[in-house]
Amino acid sequence: MIKQFYILLNFLYFTIIFALDIGIEQTLVLHDPEILPLNDSTSGSNFLKYLDSNFELTFADYNNDEISLFYNDEESIRFDNIILFPSSKKTINNKKNLNQHNLLKFINLKGNVLVIGGSESTSLPEPFRIWLNELGIYPAPKNYKYIDHFNTKLSEKNNLIKNNIVDSLKVESYDGSAALITNNELIFPIISSSKTGYTNKVGTPIDQESTWTFGTQGYLAVAFQALNNARVAWIGSIDLLNQVEIYEWVFQKKNTLRLQFAQHVNNEDPSKINPTLYRIKDQAIYTIGISEFKNGQWVPFEIGDGSDLTPQLSFKMLDPYQKLNLEKLGKVSSKEKGDLDTFAYFVNFTVPDHHGMFTFELDYKRHGYSWILDKKIVTVRHLANDEFKRSWDITNSWLYIASTLLVIIAWFLFVVNYIYVGKVNYKKKDQ
């Protein structure tokens, strides 16, 4: 009886998890009630409305001990997104669950994080700061402020870096912090400081040691996309929440791509998809289909002609032997009898005259879009013994063939001559 009950409980438990899985995305909002109560109309009000209409929200204080990022198996994440509002304290109580290692694991399990920096009196609690540093983003600490005496307003000319995320600046006055970033290739800044901006401790003069950023080395908004396409953004001020694109991007609502299929066929036998064996100088056709997530559904991802976004194929063995732009094929469906939700690209090329194990590599890394990486290893073999030209097909060989025949005929004539011609018939003579 108890066992049955237990099974039922288990069943219920899994159903709930399942329901959570396919249901509305879960989002955790961590905030400091002393700074941001999140109940009156702050500058983030539009943002909160957006959150409310799109996600199942969990609000929590930084000191909330109940919060855990993972389910009990430690392999799946409880939330899809985390939003970190500024805090007044440097430390938190829930170090067991909210530490830098768990945050990193959260990203590795494909969770997204939006970090909101604050004005001079706020900062990020330590675990979050260490974790951001690990990604390569170093926000200025507490009591630091971004200042620009010459360009008091943000402008697209001075500040905006076009990375396919933000097209136009909607914020003019900026009250917040700035960050330094490392050379990590997965980081791409969105809004930078102007040449004349700097980040300094409030009330102290500029100093080589203590000033956090000088000029364009500081960034006001930074995006980060991990190899598994988990997204992180750090924005230096709550003002930047007016740039809707930034948080839409973080929550995977914008510029999210999916490789629906990638396949190659041999021109001689197109019915066989993804053959593992090619022959040198065969014609190969490589096709991919990419969809983009827009307004809650997958739609074809079509690129303008000659755009930088055009996907490329490398056919490589240690080094690329071919590096080709894919051509547009048209809208297709990723499923049988489905909607036209995918845009297909293709390229037709000759396999190099070199045998070995080659990789069809689609390494699509464009700032602002999801990374796409697909590798398919095939064997390119040499010509078999019966695939060469026959000797008589090569005009150069005719000379040799003719001389061979000539020798054979001459030898035959010689033998005939030697045996039968010109010999005295001894038998006759004897008689």
Partner: protein, 724 residues
Amino acid sequence: MSNVNQLTIYGVDIQLIRTLLKIIIFISIAGAAISSRLFSVIRFEAIIHEFDPWFNFRATKYLVTHSYYEFLNWFDDRTWYPLGRVTGGTLYPGLMVTSGAIWHILKNYFKLPVDIRNICVLLAPAFSGLTAIFTYFLTKEMKDSSAGLLAAIFMGIAPGYISRSVAGSYDNEAIAITLLMATFYFWIKSMKIGSVFYATITALCYFYMVSAWGGYVFITNLIPLHVFVLLLMGRYNPKLYTAYTTWYALGTLASMQIPFVGFLPIRSNDHMAALGVFGLLQLVAFGDYVKSKVPNKQFKSFLIVSVVFVFGSGIAALFGLTAMGWIAPWTGRFYSLWDTNYAKIHIPIIASVSEHQPTAWPAFFFDTSMLIWLFPAGIYLCFQDLKDEHVFVIIYSVLCSYFAGVMVRLMLTLTPVICVSGAIALSKLFDVYLNIKDAFHGDNISISKVISKLTVLLSFGFYLFYFVLHCTWVTSNAYSSPSVVLASRNPDGSQNLIDDYREAYYWLRMNTPEDAKVMAWWDYGYQIGGMADRTTLVDNNTWNNTHIATVGKAMASPENVSYEILKKHDVDYVLVIFGGLLGYSGDDINKFLWMVRIAEGIWPDEIKERDFFTDRGEYKMDKDASETMKNSLMYKLCYWRFSELFGGRDGVDRVRNQQIPINAVPELNVVEEAFTSENWIVRIYKVKDLDNVGRDLYDATKFENKKSGKRNRIVKRPKIDLRE
């Protein structure tokens, strides 16, 4: 004398008895030859030995599961990743085709579906019986059938030959020595009687030999040399002309049918001697004809002028064509035959193979026992007789004595001629001393004569007996280890099998994805391919020095450099052999200097052999080890967590007798331990993926290991490189 043929014993014709006896002797010899090669099967199991046989075995399996043409056109995508190997065109197919044919015949005609592995294991012993028979025929041509029988039994049990033909040693040499003897026998036969038929058979045997072993070049040069020497001795005759031209024309055409040989017979220097002698023989034949037509005096001047002219233009053509690249120059292996230091300086990859080292002199006694001192006596007897065929034995013995001194593995080709000439000497001795008729039939029976005969006979009887003992002992103790399985003794004397290799390879086969790429030093390539069935980067077919050097560089470099190489080559696992725990000296640390040297040959700026030694020039692994050594991937993979086994004290490397300090444990960043075998001989590491958040793996490991400890209140501005 005609009544000799009618001699009967108990009404049976004596010739018949002779034949019967001979057959019984042959069967016994074959039995002895085969059974003495079965030690390893009885002690261990029917397993393929060592390294190369694993490739041959794998290729044979491919042959019997695919068609012959698929085998011929086989492009192997599981070795030399990502280059691949045109295996069908770069192997000698004779061995595989032979066992494949046996397999098919047994299956289709005798309805005996034998496992191909058993055929492969037992092929070498079976062919050793044939070798003995061909040695009999060859020696019979030299002296008589009693010498032949002696040579046959010597050949059957001489350790020099057994070393390459025990059960499980499924290598090209297993059938090649048989074919060598067959070719030589038929050559002597055809040369003696000038028969086109026998010369054709010689050519066929030669073709089979070419298809089976790269050592066929030995025949390609020995037969022309024999002819050349005979010409110099003024022994030209039409028989020689018939035999040689037939053999050369047919043999060369046939040998060109083997894809791996292809056009070599007309384009490589190794084969030019045969061509040159062929041309010379035509001229001599023509000269002979002229001589019979013109007076002697004129002929002499004609001869001198033409010989000088022909010789000069021949040499000039050879040099010219070689310089123009039409004829391939001598290969490195060939140079290392003349200058034993050549390989060490120019081609470390050849020098790194232990069987390419010069032979130590005790090896001659070890491998041939008493035959080594009978050998010169036999040659002396050949000189006394000095018929055409004896010249052959003399040339063979001179050449091979030299080669065997230069390279250990060429003991193999010396052994047959030692057996032949030893048998000639011994049979001559027996002819004289076993002739007891004289002692009793004489007018007065001389006691001293009888005693001297008895003494000699008894002592040689003892030598023969001792020879058998020695051969059996050597075979049993030195040449019957599969080297895949190691045997050792427990303190109580019982046998302890160390089966780490197979344990690890089986682990790879069972626990890694089928397309996983395994990087290991090339010695283990064939075994990984054969036993673990995983893709390797390099293997014992050392055709691409650069690729091997790449692996050497990956092993000898610091982790971050290695990681780039590993990623570029899609490596999933790294395998190293470590003998430090057990005292197994054939491990990767002892081979490490070769890896360094080979890598240095390609990247002299990045890898320097000197850096791997201590300041005092010692090769050390302990606390004195150089920084480069300690940072190399190989060192880290071998000694990772090694000291932990010793309960807080320093680890002891039993191969090098050095202390591995407990407080300087190597750290691993780019790989993680996946498997270590029971006795730590094989260690397998998995290559980590790229870091998901784009850090280098050093930082990632550091971060992983640093649990949130002391709080750092003051946030300092980081030192960051300028953003690119």
